[in-house]
Symmetry: C2
Subunit: 436 residues, 2 copies
């Protein structure tokens, strides 16, 4: 049903974007309209046309609405699945019949939706106000333009969409903290996920100490901090000497741009440095960051930081010879371990297939660029080395289902795996084939 | 101790290859001697010099001996670890005190060594006889030359080393089944691993039906068949139209070269087609095949087909909602599942780091080529897009520990994980963070 809702949104978006009033000049082709509607609804941010130049005000508004529906829709869906999971786990551990637990009541839906919208309004509002003021005052935009630009970028940022009304994304604001930081703030909050935001808000009100927060929240916050600091340092090291990106910036601007660059692969997709000019090792690092993504039940894509952390903890425990995989004084359930493995390895498999296909059918583009673009599409990041607009139409079309699978796949897969569990009627005798 | 043995072999090899009599012309530099000795002992097959032209007869003989020691050494080591594991599992399941099980007796060592040498002599002998006859009769080589060429290539093939005394590897024999097939035969048998060879030999003698073979053997044989057929088809599809490799061949030669090409990434490293001229999608496919490798406790590298199969089965069971991961009517032990995950993901991590490093420090070489070369070094395959000889000396040196880790890492890691198991003194409360 959710899938149908997404498909319907994309269909309506495609029709609206195909209208003559949606574009400035020539009418959009079917592929252009479909690709853009999918990219907006899946909050991916990859584009085949220059958003600022190609689409009219009406077209841009359609895109903004699609982004808002897509982003908040996913957040709501994932949060409801999360509630369902928690309940079911609680119930099953109390040995209550499982039949009644498969449903989430209308009250839950209303509660989650209210909260999702409330947080979105607050965060997008803060971000928009700062942006509008900055655009109007420092950049001398007319107030009407500043308002539209501020609102659009706040929506695009909070929903981790990465669509921009500037042809060069945020590259014109590389040294401006009053643009980079509010957008980064909205991106991080949107990407951290509703369960964590809600719990932190409750905990702060109740003055509950972090030690008593849930494992999920603690993993997410820690991983967010570690990844942000780590990737800021990575980008400084990798791009600091690149004359096409960072080399000419002042030390302060270097750090600001590296931080912005560290925020965006999880999985917002704005860029304040020129992605196409980055070193290839920077691309590889970005590919890994995009694959990891941000928090569960937020607006971001990727396999999610909890999935990554669980895999890391499992490997670490295994190396230390521990029979259990523990994190923050909690033992990770074996089922959760298998889910993480499945989500991560299926993600790798889903990225490999279109990479092979596009490499085989599009001569003249390097494997690194194709892997970057496919990962960006699957993880709904939207960062681009610039090849998407140049791909043949059938390979642009190939990215459409990939964005869709990348948007709904990991969320629903994770939940489906956790919810499904067959009765074990009999067990096979155990076997331990040699590994390695 | 085993690590020391390998290091000592490499040290002696480096010294011998540094001698003036080891080369035809100018004496080998330290990096050339060390790289070649490591590549031979780890049966990797990557080269920084043209083996046929650069080394003298003495140098070639040193390389052959290093290959034989390295290949049989690894086979013996892994087989002994396998015995140790089986025993320990048997004992622990019978609740016998674990203290006495940590050691493998001298009798075991002698038994395994005898078997390892016996099989090597038989398979290398068969391969060598056919090659020598073919080289002498069809290619008009003097018998002395044919004998040396046949013996060297048989040793290099059975030990999955991939060193060749022809500057273009087997490309001169692309259409000759009497060269390609005996070499492929030796490669497959060497790569399938002693436990499987031994069990199949016993089973055939005892006329035991395949259904009663061990899970390890059945997984290995099935995966070998599936991978060989699948990758033959892949190479036919990917390279069939490539004028620089397969396009000009007759249909029969196409199939022969595709089959040879399918055998070599697991992980022998000969090539009868020009690797540097292949399409990039072929490189990607080859990278995946190299990473998987061949059978455990053989002469091949990679994470091994059983590891790959176990991960596949775990994901499949998870998708189907099965609480157990079953294959061939056997339940895969949870510990084995975690071992497979650890070996595979650590393998990915170990490949990513040098790929990033070499990309950052060697401008002008594509990421695809570097990833290919690093994977080839780690999996001890030795296939090359041709960049290794052109890398700066410090990056050639960087491949040396990588070949070493790739050779001993997965084997000893797998065994170490299986042997180590700490007492569980207390358990943390369970927790299930949201995945995906
Ligand atoms: K995005
Ligand atoms: K090899």
């Amino acid at each position: 049903m959710v899938t149908l809702g997404f498909l319907a949104t994309i269909a309506v978006g495609t029709i609206l974007l195909s209208l003559p009033i949606a574009t400035e000049g020539a009418r959009a082709t079917f592929v252009e309209a479909l690709f853009t509607a999918t990219s907006a609804t899946c909050v991916t941010g990859l584009v085949v046309t220059d958003t600022a130049v190609f689409w009219s005000g009406f077209g841009e508004a359609v895109i903004a609405v699609l982004i808002q529906i897509g982003g908040l829709g996913v957040m709501t869906l994932a949060s409801l699945l999360g509630i369902l999971l928690t309940r079911r786990l609680d119930l099953s551990s109390r040995l209550v019949a499982a039949a009644s637990t498969r449903s989430v009541g209308l009250g839950d839906v209303r509660g989650v939706l209210t909260r999702v919208i409330k947080i979105a309004v607050v965060v997008e509002g803060i971000c928009a106000v700062i942006l509008v003021a900055r655009f109007a005052i420092t950049y001398d935009m007319p107030w009407g333009t500043a308002l539209w630009q501020g609102a659009f970028h706040a929506i695009s940022a909070y929903n981790n969409a990465g669509f921009s009304l500037f042809s060069d994304s945020l590259m014109g604001f590389v040294g401006d903290p009053w643009v980079s930081l509010p957008i980064s703030f909205a991106v991080i909050v949107g990407g951290i996920g509703l369960p964590v935001i809600a719990e932190v808000a409750r905990a702060l009100r109740a003055r509950r100490r972090p030690r008593r927060w849930s494992t999920h929240t603690r993993i997410t916050l820690w991983m967010t901090a570690v990844l942000l600091v780590g990737s800021t340092l990575f980008f400084l090291a990798a791009e600091g000497d690149n004359t096409a990106t960072m080399a000419s910036l002042s030390p302060g601007d270097k750090i600001l741009s590296a931080f912005t660059q560290a925020v965006m692969p999880r999985t917002a997709g704005f860029n304040s440095l020129d992605t196409s000019q980055m070193h290839h090792e920077t691309w590889l690092g970005t590919i890994i960051l995009m694959f990891i993504g941000a928090g569960s039940a937020g607006t971001a894509g990727g396999i999610k930081v909890t999935t990554f952390a669980v895999l890391g903890v499992v490997i670490w425990s295994e190396l230390r010879g521990e029979p259990d995989a523990n994190i923050f004084d909690r033992r990770i359930a074996p089922a959760t371990q298998r889910q993480a493995l499945t989500v991560a390895l299926l993600g790798v498999a889903i990225i490999i297939v279109p990479t092979l296909w596009i490499t085989a059918t599009t001569p003249g583009i390097s494997v690194a660029e194709i892997l970057f673009e496919v990962t960006s599409a699957f993880t709904t990041t939207g960062l681009s080395t610039g090849i998407t607009a140049d791909l043949p139409w059938f390979n642009q079309l190939a990215l459409v289902p990939l964005m869709f699978v990348g948007r709904l796949g990991p969320i629903t897969l994770g939940a489906a795996l956790a919810l499904r569990s067959r009765q074990r009627l009999y067990r096979m005798p155990e076997s331990a084939p040699i590994i390695g």
